[in-house]
């Protein structure tokens, strides 16, 4: 997030696009509801499902999956055409306005309503006018913006809008991606990415490599960006990746196109999994290493607002399990490293030396203070919101972006659009939440959510077990018939191994960020006919 959670009360209104906040980031969802319901703040929501927040929205856009960019362009079209944008901000702090404005010309409300499947183009005009008057407006998004072949462009579009409206660099504004996992922010900050060292320092820059080689006392560091997760699996199948070491991830359930992932894991010469359970992924391993669970660990994590927080050891370690960092260190030592970290704090001290944005943080400070990066020096108070006064790159870049459709369209064989996501009670692949009694009892089984009209067309009743298939596979799952999802779209949460949504999803991905298009593919939902005598029985 460019801005902070505690700034929610400072906003005059919110655009919620591609995030089912009250289910996936519930504490933030409640804070938003408090402002809207109890304090009369304005709310605009765009999502193919009529999510809970839509109930209080001044404008709700039930857009077709994969059409965020068209909607954002449509809103900006009105804002530019009616001269509602923040001229001073755009002139002083941004560049690229001319190209953007030109591209926006054809995104008239009617054109956009056609792409997004909206009944009332006038709403786009109304919402744009409302948004322009909200000083400031905060924009929140999650995977409903990014998990598309056009994910990177979707993110850029959100930034375009907020720059046009002058909502960056102010408290209560911002482009605020809600990170889905407890430390996905930190994993990125720490260089858990194939192209960058910690603090996003590119591996392709000679100077960075020299700096890290010196800090680590290592030989020359590799200069070629590595493979992304999806490429790793492709290359394993191609025979170019021979060994894979997976720490605390469950790609068999979380990644698109499950059959493909399993084929990749089976092709490996060495597959090491470090986890707390025998996950669906660990079953394919050659070696399984038992790690501490989160309450057995001490260390730091970084939340969605760049806030670094200490975790303390609550429980004694389970069995012979070990700290993740300890296990890595032991393997490294066997490969010749002289690493001898005595605890997580010792590692953090090294992190500070090579990660400028964390340099001013210490364990002692983190116990006492609320610190958000960048925090470059021990005296620095941390950074509540980014881009104050100027952007890190100098001028803010407005990028002209065209809407592009998702990779897979519907056709007579696969007439419905499948979108995936999470539900309130569960998390990701369910490794943790489905092993938690209360959560499991509250939401014990998978379902496919579909619109009443689609259900009627296919003669499907609420609670009936149906077959959902795509070009990649088929699963059986209970139907949940609702009025809140856009007709023509079905939704499956991906937590459930026994009805895994990712058997169906497509392995297409964004060309730049390599984000898989988990939010849209074509599918068919069919009645499962009971076997009758006339059908021949089983003999």
């Amino acid at each position: 997030m460019t801005n902070s959670i505690r700034e929610i009360p400072a906003s005059a209104g919110y655009l919620i696009i591609g995030t089912n906040t009250t289910e996936n980031h519930p504490v933030i969802g409640s804070m938003l509801k408090n402002e809207v319901i109890n304090k009369g703040k304005k709310l605009i929501v765009a999502d193919p499902r009529r999510i809970e927040l839509a109930r209080w929205a001044d404008y709700y856009f039930p857009i077709a999956p994969g059409t965020n960019i068209a909607l954002l362009n449509g809103l900006m079209h009105v804002i530019v055409k009616e001269g509602l944008y923040d001229r001073a901000f755009v002139e002083e702090r941004c560049e690229g306005f001319g190209d953007l404005a030109k591209t926006l010309e054809k995104y008239t409300p009617e054109h956009v309503a056609g792409i997004c499947g909206l009944a009332n183009p006038q709403d786009i005009v109304g919402a744009a006018r409302l948004m322009a008057g909200l000083k400031p407006m905060a924009l929140y998004y999650a995977m409903g913006i990014t998990q598309f072949v056009s994910g990177v462009n979707g993110v850029k579009s959100t930034a375009n809008l907020q720059m046009l409206l002058g909502n960056l660099g102010v408290a209560g504004g911002g482009v605020n991606p809600l990170r889905g996992q407890s430390n996905v922010q930190g994993a990125c900050d720490m260089g858990g990415l194939p192209n960058v060292f910690p603090a996003y320092q590119p591996v392709t820059v000679e100077e960075n490599r020299a700096k890290f080689a010196a800090a680590w006392g290592s030989g020359a560091l590799p200069d070629k960006p590595g493979l992304t997760l999806m490429e790793m699996f492709n290359q394993a199948i191609a025979g170019n990746i021979k060994a894979l070491y997976v720490m605390g991830e469950n790609p068999v359930l979380s990644d698109p196109d499950q059959h493909h992932v399993i084929e990749a894991l089976e092709a490996l010469d060495l597959f090491v999994v470090q986890d707390i359970f025998m996950t669906e992924t660990a079953r394919y391993a050659d070696v399984v290493l038992p790690a501490y669970g989160f309450l057995e660990k001490a260390g730091t994590v970084t939340n969605t607002e760049r806030r670094v927080q200490p975790m303390h050891r609550v429980l004694e370690p389970w069995g012979q399990s070990k700290d993740d960092w300890w296990i890595i260190m032991q393997i490294a030592r066997r490969l010749g490293a002289d690493w001898d970290y005595k605890d997580a704090e010792a590692i953090f001290e090294e992190i500070r030396r090579v990660t400028p944005s964390y340099a001013g943080m210490t364990y002692a400070r983190l116990e006492e203070e609320l610190l958000q990066w960048p925090c470059p020096t021990p005296e620095h108070p941390g950074t509540q919101f980014l881009h104050k006064g100027k952007f890190s790159r100098g001028q803010g870049l407005l990028t002209a972006i065209e809407f592009t459709p998702p990779a897979e369209g519907t056709d007579p064989d696969f007439p419905l659009i499948l979108t995936t996501g999470r539900i309130l009670e569960h998390f990701h692949t369910g490794t943790m939440s489905r092993n938690s009694r209360v959560l499991d009892e509250l939401a014990p089984e998978a379902f496919v959510e579909m619109n009443r009209h689609d259900a009627q067309d296919h003669d499907i009743g609420d609670g009936e077990v149906v077959a959902v298939s795509s070009r990649r596979g088929s699963i059986r799952i209970k139907a949940r018939v609702v009025d809140t999802i856009k007709p023509g779209v079905v939704f499956i949460p991906f937590h459930f191994a026994e009805a895994a949504a990712n058997v169906l999803t497509i392995g297409a991905y964004d060309p730049v960020a390599k984000i898989p298009e988990l939010k849209v593919c074509a599918c068919a939902v069919e009645k499962v006919l009971p076997l009758t005598d006339t059908a021949g029985g089983l003999s």
């Binding site: 394993a236 991830e249 990644d255 391993a285 790690a291 669970g293 399990s321 938690s436």
Partner: protein, 363 residues
């Protein structure tokens, strides 16, 4: 009592008053209770909580103002040169009287109450030496429902009508499940117009239970049990979404997790969702991996750490020697700490010699 609810003195807006003879500075708009708590001056309260709006319902916080007036400290704004007395024989009598009425009205048998030892009413009863009044009081029996909800237990015979749960749901969770209904002596709670709590629209965030000062609304047990005074607590950060809620985890003498309460200092300001509240027992499931495993002839066999680590290191060396460092790849984890992630990428870059390291940020 979290002090962060009360900001620093705003320049030019300070108000000076005395509380129990002590000179105190407060901000315009602050109540007597807030000014007192900011100075570590103890005024008893029951319906007040910094996370919700003020009701002035219980009158336990009554103080004497400028010698002659009684005011509820949690609602009365401070004024220049105000003189506040927080305790005197008359105030003590009033408080004791209120507490005894509350005792008479309900069924406060601490012996089998979940809140025993962590109950704000119990603390006040002890402090003011209140006792069950003698005589026959009409006992109103209200709803007891300890089974319909997976998250909450409800025993309204322990309810003191402070309204914290109503406000917790209306102002923190924003779900508006609880309401008061009935008048006078018949006032009682209802969830979603008399639905059972388990059939209501409750989303099991547990915030009402966390803010309930007694054992009227409590959390369903998850795993371990134990007397409140035997529990140990330590804070950590929720393992689920990226909000990063700060949580106090409680464990019993046997080391089992008992409950999770939202910590006021985190980004969550004390609030939690159902996952942070109830989703922790997985970590003490027997199915947890407890020993390293190596696959031999298709099946996993238990191994020592040295065997497992030697095996992994040897195979990595072989593969690297034979196919080059770029034939090795690793997935680091968005569920692990910064330190774990840092070391994993350092390992891959410095020791294996490849940038093939990624995680599921995109999923």
């Amino acid at each position: 009592m979290p002090k962060d609810a009360i900001g620093p003195i705003v320049q030019g807006q300070g108000i000076s008053l005395t509380i129990d003879g002590q000179a105190v500075m407060g901000n315009k708009g602050q109540t007597i209770l807030e000014a007192a708590l900011a100075h570590d001056i103890d005024i008893p309260y029951l319906c007040y909580n910094p996370r919700i709006s003020k009701t002035g319902a219980c009158r336990i916080c009554l103080v004497r103002v400028n010698e002659t007036m009684f005011k509820t400290a949690c609602t009365e704004p401070i004024a220049p040169d105000m003189r506040v007395v927080t305790e005197d024989p008359e105030l003590t009598e009033i408080r004791k009287g209120i507490l005894e009425m509350l005792l008479a009205e309900g069924d406060h048998n601490c012996l089998y109450c979940d809140a025993n030892g962590a109950c704000e009413l119990q603390n006040l009863v002890m402090r003011y030496d209140a006792a069950m009044p003698s005589g026959d009081f009409p006992r109103r029996h209200r709803t007891i429902d300890e089974a319909s909800s997976k998250g909450l237990k409800r025993n309204e015979d322990r309810c003191v009508l402070c309204g914290r749960c109503v406000k917790a749901c209306a102002e923190v969770q924003l779900n508006n499940v609880w309401q008061f209904t009935g008048r006078g002596g018949n006032t009682h709670l209802t969830s979603d117009l008399d639905a059972k709590i388990g059939d209501s629209t409750c989303v099991n965030c547990g915030t009402c239970a966390q803010l309930c000062p007694t054992g009227a609304i409590t959390l369903q047990p998850v795993l371990g049990r134990g007397a409140n005074w035997d529990l140990k607590k330590e804070s950590s950060i929720c393992i689920y979404c990226g909000v990063g809620c700060k949580i106090d985890f409680f464990k019993n003498k046997g080391g089992q997790l008992v409950r999770a309460l939202g910590h006021p200092d985190g980004p969550n300001q004390g609030h939690l969702c159902v996952k942070g509240r109830f989703g922790f027992d997985f970590i003490q499931k027997p199915a947890r991996l407890s020993k390293p495993l190596i696959r031999e002839n298709g099946a996993f066999k238990e191994a020592t750490w040295d065997e497992a680590l030697d095996f992994v290191a040897a195979r990595l060396k072989e593969i690297k020697a034979q196919h080059g460092p770029d034939a090795v790849a690793a997935l680091t984890s968005a569920k692990c700490t910064n330190e774990d992630n840092y070391l994993m990428q350092k390992f891959m870059r410095a020791m294996v010699g490849t940038n093939n390291v990624d995680h599921c940020a995109r999923l």
